[in-house]
Amino acid sequence: MTLAKALVSVLLAAPLPAAAQEISRARIDLNGTLLAGTCTATAVSKNMPAVGVNAFPQTAAGKGGAAASYTDFTINLTACSSVTGATFVFGTDADRHATERDSFRNKGAGGSPYIAIWLRGSCSAGPTYQPAQAVTKTFTTATYSFPLCAQYYKSAGGLVTQGPASTSFIVTITYQ
């Protein structure tokens, strides 16, 4: 009997015949995004030279810039981390001069309506950066300087009269 019992026990412990196994598959999707890094941007406040009205064309229809008003400045980005470039947008359409649409309007209280601020990449040459324009630059270091130059510009329509000549706008920088 003891043997008989032992045999039974052995039989019970034997592997089950090969039957179909239950198999589950779990798909795992992990979706993420790496954000561009950023830089530290510094506000710009520049005093432009006072120039006489005689620096401008003396006819109502005349238009032109004034070399005496050339004002260099830079938009400086520092402490850039993981940034490979950036798109700079210079103000908005609301910053445009009424008739000289590629220049910034004179926002000085009581300022001459025939004066605008012309923004260029450099003073005597270089591309014009008009309001709302987007400009993309690439860079690979922790700092970047965007050189610019502002100057007064006479628009057509009347003679320039004395008064303030000022503008302000927001540069929106989107990093890559």
Binding site: D29, P49, A50, A165
Partner: protein, 176 residues
């Protein structure tokens, strides 16, 4: 299985990620000034006249026609100028006893004499231009001439006797 289906959906919902941005305010402040003209110094030699041309009483006071000396304050090369203020000397240039005339600044000058300046080309008429007086003129061309006339003047206090008679003053021109 429900859980497995949801995971990809959740990942997609997390996608609209704003690009890294920063903004920079740019302020450009300047001014337009009035234009200018070219001025020329005036040097005139006034006629020599006899002491007898003046009133012969200590209290007498009058100008002397024989000393009439027309001169011009001339502006040329005006650009962008719509007018100007002329200030004739200062109160310190006045004869203390006859404050609407310019004092005789000559060393050992003829006593009781001053220089009477009038706004005129005719000398015998025209408004008195006293030391420190301001004349405001409007003009729209590249040149402007302000006609003046000087003459000797005896003021009260004593008799005129021989001696030099000279004055000098600065005209300050402020343009508009």
């Amino acid at each position: 299985m429900n859980l497995l289906n949801c995971l990809p959906l959740l990942a997609l919902c997390a996608c609209p990620l704003a690009a890294a941005q920063s903004t920079v305010r740019v302020d450009l402040n300047g001014s337009i000034q009035a234009g200018t003209c070219t001025t020329a110094a005036v040097t005139k030699t006034m006629p020599a006249v006899k002491a007898s041309a003046f009133p012969q009483t200590a209290a007498g006071k009058a100008g002397v026609a024989a000393s009439y000396t027309p001169f011009d304050v001339a502006l040329t090369g005006c650009s962008g100028v719509t007018g100007a203020n002329f200030v004739f000397g200062a109160a310190a240039d006045a004869e203390p006893q006859q404050t609407d005339s310019f004092r005789n600044k000559a060393t050992n000058g003829a006593p009781f004499t001053a220089i009477w300046v009038r706004e005129t080309a005719a000398c015998s008429t025209g408004a008195t231009v006293r030391p420190g007086a301001t004349l405001s003129k409007t003009f729209a061309t590249a040149t402007y001439t302000l006609p003046m006339c000087a003459q000797y003047y005896k003021f009260a206090g004593g008799l005129v006797s021989m001696g030099p008679l000279t004055t000098t003053f600065t005209v300050t021109v402020t343009y508009r």
